[in-house]
Symmetry: C2
């Protein structure tokens, strides 16, 4: 019998934010697949589940962070091929991914390729960085009639247009261009309606309740997330 | 010493989607607060955590589903008063809420009132219905440059305008007006790009990969969620 692929959301960092299903599924799998890229984000997923994977076979998937889409696609096919070898051996594979697998995760490319080749695959959802950030900040993401827009950092060129649309917004992984994003938010009058959460649920978590507060003591690295509320 | 209030996301229905933190926090609290409204959604939160609350004091909060905002606000103050009594007695209170407390949850009203009165309160994030729905459907919510807009069912009057905006969309709890929403989605050419998930992660879960598929065997009640992708 062929093995099955599981895409497992580990949540944002704190191992206590793993679901029972994530833990139970990892424990049933004999191979743990970990995405590895030029970025430093992915090793975090492994560190979250570390205590549940002792004695299991570790499989690294390489996703080079290159601009060329064709090269990225080639790398994905190659990575999926590596997973399929384990499935053909009858081994179940747990691919761990930070946050939630359906939200800006490399896992979905593996899922699509593997399913299209006739293998079984299942997704175990995880706590998103934005839900964890709002929780840590003690604020809602959306209530009543409010809409919520999730914006990836790669939309920085369109950010002003997106911010002008109604509703609350989350800007994901805005670390690199944070200064520019915060500048635009101030121009648009959102200084006090903007909250910043850095490395949420990790040991070096930093929370800021306004842009002013952030600018007095700016910190935070790769995992910086911005929440913009329409109302205070 | 005063007690502390915890807002705990139970996830969408499957008790296996509880986080370790949700379970550990519930086990430390002596009072379990459960929202009760005219809707039938809230008792589900209690049923998810049932096996962890044996022997604990149960406290029901009433949130009448009335149109008048002032009446709703009055009911919230009254409900918060009930929670505060336990906190004054030095008891920690776990308020359980379906999905995630920061995403369209009644809990946030309790959080704001209780914090404004000087009590401590903490939010434990939960798996959202939309992450669980995408996982069950085997699709991504958003990848690469895609934005994602979460739309509450109460925005039905503006739904066409919102659907015309770029990006992927989630329409929450669209049960009551589902037929009208699906009609508009077909008009806008999203028939095959629309997925429907009903009672996700519950025993009577139903999944539909297109509007046509849904219309052949429509089912699903209160917990119906629609995901609209820009790309197939």
């Amino acid at each position: 019998m062929k093995g099955k692929l599981y895409g497992i959301g580990t949540g944002p960092g704190d191992p206590e934010l793993l679901t029972l299903k994530a833990i139970n599924t990892i424990e049933r799998c004999s191979v743990i697949a970990v995405p590895k890229s030029s970025g430093d984000g992915e090793r975090v997923a492994y560190s979250i589940v570390e205590k549940y994977v002792i004695g299991k076979q570790l499989h690294e998937c390489h996703f080079p962070m290159v601009r060329d889409l064709e090269e990225r696609k080639k790398a994905r096919l190659l990575a999926a091929e590596g997973l399929v070898k384990h499935l053909d051996d009858g081994k179940d594979v747990a691919f761990v991914t930070l946050g939630d697998p359906t939200t800006y995760s490399t896992y979905m490319y593996m899922h699509e390729i593997v399913v299209s080749q006739g293998y079984e695959a299942e997704i175990v959802p995880g706590i998103t960085s934005f839900a964890a950030s709002a929780a840590a900040l003690g604020i809602s993401l959306c209530e009543g009639d409010e809409t919520l827009m999730i914006i990836p950092a790669s939309q920085n060129e369109r950010i002003e247009e997106l911010l002008r649309q109604p509703g609350n917004k989350v800007i994901m992984k805005s670390g690199r261009d944070l200064a520019g994003v915060l500048e635009k938010l101030k121009e648009l009058g959102y200084g006090d309606k903007t909250k910043v959460a850095c490395e949420v649920s990790m040991e070096n978590q930093q929370l800021y309740m306004s842009i002013d507060e952030y600018e007095k003591a700016p910190e935070g690295g790769y995992f910086t997330l911005v929440i913009v509320k329409e109302k205070d």
